[in-house]
Amino acid sequence: MTNFVDIGAVEDIPVRSARLVKTHGGCIAVFRTASDKIFALDDKCPHKGGPLSNGIQHDESITCPLHNWVFDLNTGAAKGADEGVVKTYDIRVEDGRILLDRAAISLSLVAE
């Protein structure tokens, strides 16, 4: 059995936007950058819980909409003077389809 689950097409996310994958453990934000890279992170800023999917994307960073913390989409680590890490998930693109690590979903199930 494959370890990845199809969550949609790359085209379903406009460039420089993000969309949500809802799981029992919370929401995962899936980002598509200007250069068509795809990233998956918890939709929750470690600072005050801001929904990162609603932030402004620039390069491979996301600025939280609540208090402007900036996170690296690759590592989930806060940039600049702020400290904190957002959980990232394995994600890949095959034939224009976005595949998310099944563990991202089942982990949340276990957590329940």
Binding site: I7, G8, D12, I13, P14, V15, R16, S17, R19, L20, V21, K22, T23, H24, C27, V30, A34, K48, G49, G50, P51, N54, G55, I56, Q57, H58, D59, S61, T63, P65, L66, N68, V70, I98, I105, S106, L109
Partner: protein, 814 residues
């Protein structure tokens, strides 16, 4: 006893001479200064920024009347010296005669007026002094005014760009096949022409002026090829000739200029000359840097020291914002010469080096001139470049291997590198000033004069100072738009218009953004500037908007949203209230609140529900209240004459009319209004961005209030008699703010920057301008007054925002 020194002319060379004398020995001379212009010395090379409106005259004055008085210089301004009596050693004007021990002639130059018929008509002018600039500004104030500039050299093009900036229709007639033919080669001349044409300046090369047409004032310029350009003014900028009449009359040796030796002495040993009126070794000089050198040499001569003037290589920069060009040395082709050329057509960059015997003898650059100083240094030093020839054209960063750090590059420069070309200040001079005790940038600039003339070397000067002072020095932070760019908000706004930039990508490309796609600070600012600059043309980039504006609701601390429907003037109906109540029940809205802006706020709504709620509110005739926008928020009103026994005018009706005109508009920051029906001011208009207080005799329009982090009472902009005037004034003010303020500045901050007087000039004194601003606002509104809720609730716009990509919460656990 001090000797008597008389100086004729208070231009830049003479100003520098007086400074040098005072610095070396303030007691040596009793100085008397004559000037035909009714003022002292100002920085004449900065007239172009004054013309374009980037600077004021006060900012370019270098020596004020007080300065002369403090330094004991006797001045006769507005007095023309008509005679030099060499035997009696006196000079005379109409009113006074003054004796001298030494005399300095610094009469400068006069503009050359081409000998065609009509050159004496009213409206034909030169571009030489403040009077000329004032005459041009006056002409440009007329609507649809047209200017023809004859001469496409440095001065002519600066005049053309300045006049265009002032809103005139400008044509440049140039006699040569390409612009600035003395400084540029054809390729660079062509790029420059393209840039200027893109700004709407007509360029006519190979243009020979046949006549200037008109009766008493100029109407048009006729060229040999039959072309006619209409003109309200004609600016002659074809060249200058040394002003030598007074010297000729005194029978001094005069050729093209007043002939001087290396010590700046004329054929009479007690008479000296400096500046543009001088001829030295058969050469004339018109740029400021050699003139300053002459002044220094003459100061030494007058004090009995040995000094000799040595001509040097000169470089040229054009002071037109957004046109970067650099030229130095000899640009001609030749059999014994080679050249290295770099072109980037997309970026409009052109660089060409002319080499002879492995040495740079000429350099011309267009579009990217950052390395100009480095090439000039090599050119002056006659350095053998054969070792670095392969990468020479890419400049110092590449040539030295890595040094992307600009400070490292500056640190590596030799001490004799010239930092400030105008004032001949070397890196060594600046470091010496620091050793001498100057420990701030201002002190060092005052001491060395570095970057005090044309200012193009300001960054470089600061960098050298930084190296000299080390950790004690903090580079002055120019307020840039953000870390992605070196431009200020104002520069960016100006360049968007000038360069006709119409997308964020274009702005970042053309203005050399340092990041690939900006950041969360600059992207929303750029998006707004483009929305404002190109209504109907620019496609709004939602990805560059803060979340509130992107999803048209206010995000709350827990990631839910609040929804505020518009209620014009704070007036609602039972039907609207019923719909709001229904929505609140249907969607389990946890909090319903009345806001400070006389609206109703539904709080705690999950994002996915937004379109459905909007749909229901739309059905009841309500639209977005834009309570989330950097844009028009609310117009608060009181009940005015409808019900109130004190009301003087229909404040409710006026508030509604204004809100009908303004809803949907974007601006640099939020914009809140209120209209009160009488001075009791129940609508609290005196702390709004714009408030109106109705009085018996009309409407007081107040601006610049604040009741947030800062608390500020409004100031009166004007009182007007009718409702229509009040509406036009309000819309005009809003547009002036929209076009001028920096992103995220509320009106009170912007007013503090530009001054209320200036705003009154624009809107109260100049009714045409007020109307034009209001018209531009109404035009822009045509594209903004679309309810964003309806687009999303009924037309499926941006549906991806509100729906998850995948939902595993509805899938049974595996």
């Amino acid at each position: 006893m001090a000797k008597k020194l008389v100086i004729i002319g208070a231009g830049m060379a003479s100003g520098r001479l007086i400074e040098a004398l005072l610095e070396k020995n303030p007691q040596a001379f009793e100085i008397t200064l004559f000037n035909p212009e009714p003022r002292g010395n100002y920085n004449r090379i900065m007239l172009s920024p004054v013309l374009s409106g980037e600077k004021t005259y006060e900012e370019i004055v270098t020596h004020s009347d007080d300065w002369y008085a403090e330094n004991g210089v006797t001045t006769y301004f507005g007095e023309t010296v008509t005679k030099i009596d060499r035997d009696a050693k006196t000079v005379s004007t109409k009113n006074v005669t003054m004796s001298f021990d030494s005399l300095v002639i610094a009469t400068g130059s006069a503009p050359f007026i081409i000998p065609v018929s009509g050159n004496d008509l009213n409206g034909v002018m030169a571009y030489r002094d403040l009077e000329d600039v004032n005459a041009m500004l006056e002409a440009s104030a007329k609507p649809n005014a047209k200017a023809v500039v004859i001469g496409g050299g440095l001065l002519g093009l600066e005049a053309a760009a300045g006049l265009k900036e002032q809103g005139m229709d400008v044509a440049v007639v140039h006699i040569a096949p390409h612009l600035m033919e003395r400084q540029l080669d054809p390729a660079a001349g062509f790029l420059l022409q393209q840039d200027l044409e893109r700004r709407g300046i007509k360029i006519h090369t190979n243009g020979f002026t046949k006549a200037i047409l008109g009766h008493s004032t100029v109407d048009a310029v006729l060229l040999e090829d039959g072309t006619v350009y209409e003109a309200d003014i004609v600016v002659m900028a074809v060249g200058i000739r040394p002003e030598t009449r007074i010297a000729t009359d005194a029978q001094l040796h005069v050729e093209r200029g007043i002939v001087v030796n290396d010590a700046m002495q004329t054929s009479d040993p007690d008479i000296f000359a400096v500046g543009e009126c001088v001829e030295h070794n058969e050469l004339l000089y018109g740029l400021v840097s050699p003139l300053y050198d002459m002044a220094k040499v003459l100061a030494s001569t007058l004090l009995g020291e040995q000094a000799a003037f040595q001509p040097m290589e000169l470089s040229t920069k054009l002071k037109v914002t957004g046109c970067d060009l650099f030229s130095a040395g000899d640009l001609d082709e030749g059999d014994d010469r080679e050249e290295i050329v770099f072109r980037d057509a997309v970026r409009g960059v052109y660089k060409r080096l002319i080499l002879q015997d492995d040495r740079i003898i000429g350099a011309v650059m267009y579009g990217d001139t950052a390395d100009g100083g480095w090439f000039l240094q090599k050119l002056k030093a006659g350095e053998d470049i054969s070792d670095i020839r392969n990468t020479l054209i890419f400049g110092p960063n590449f040539a030295s291997g890595a040094a992307a750090d600009p400070l490292a590059a500056v640190a590596a420069l030799p001490l004799d590198t010239e930092i400030c070309g105008c004032n001949g200040v070397s890196k060594g001079d600046i470091l010496a000033a620091i050793d001498g005790g100057a420990n701030t940038l201002e002190a060092i600039k005052a001491k060395t004069k570095a970057s005090t003339s044309c200012g193009t070397c300001a960054d470089l000067t600061a960098q050298v100072v930084q190296i000299g002072l080390g950790d004690d020095f903090v580079l002055p932070q120019k307020e840039t738009i953000c870390k992605c760019s070196d431009y200020s908000h104002d520069d960016v706004r100006k360049l968007i218009i000038q360069k006709q930039l119409k997308s964020i990508a274009e702005v970042m490309q053309e203005l050399q953004w340092e990041t690939s796609c900006g950041c969360a600070s600059c992207r929303p600012a750029l998006n707004y500037y483009l929305v404002c600059a190109w209504p109907g043309d620019y496609v709004d980039d939602g990805r560059s908007r803060y979340i509130n504006e992107r999803v048209h609701a206010n995000i709350q601390k827990d990631g839910t949203y609040s929804v505020v429907p518009r209620m014009l003037g704070g007036i609602t109906t039972p039907n609207e209230l019923r719909a709001i109540a229904d929505v609140a029940e249907k969607f389990n809205v946890p909090t319903v609140k009345v806001t400070g802006g006389q609206r109703i706020d539904l709080l705690g709504i999950v994002k996915e529900d937004l379109p459905a709620i909007w749909y229901d509110l739309n059905q009841a005739g309500m639209m977005s209240g834009q309570a989330y926008a950097k844009g028009l928020r609310t117009v608060k009103t009181c009940v005015g004459t409808d019900h109130c026994r004190f009301g003087t005018q229909d404040s409710t009706g006026l508030g509604i009319k204004i809100e009908q005109k303004m809803w949907g508009a974007w601006s640099p920051h939020k914009f809140k209004l209120a209209v009160s029906g009488c001075p009791r001011n129940c609508a609290e208009a005196t702390c709004k961005d714009l408030g109106i207080i109705c009085v018996d005799s009309g409407y007081q329009v107040l601006v610049g209030g604040a009741a947030g982090m800062d608390l500020r009472e409004t100031d009166l902009l004007a009182q007007v008699a009718t409702e229509d005037e009040a509406i036009e004034l309000a819309c005009g003010f809003y547009q002036l703010y929209r076009e001028g303020a920096q992103y995220l500045h509320r009106p009170y901050k912007w007013i503090a920057k530009v001054g209320l007087d200036w705003i009154k000039e624009q809107l109260v004194d100049d009714l045409k301008n007020r109307k034009a601003l209001a018209d531009r606002f109404h035009f822009s509104q045509k594209f903004c007054q679309v309810d964003p809720w309806a687009e999303r609730a009924s037309q499926g716009k941006e549906a991806h925002e509100f729906q998850p990509l995948a939902d595993f919460t509805k899938v049974a656990a595996e």
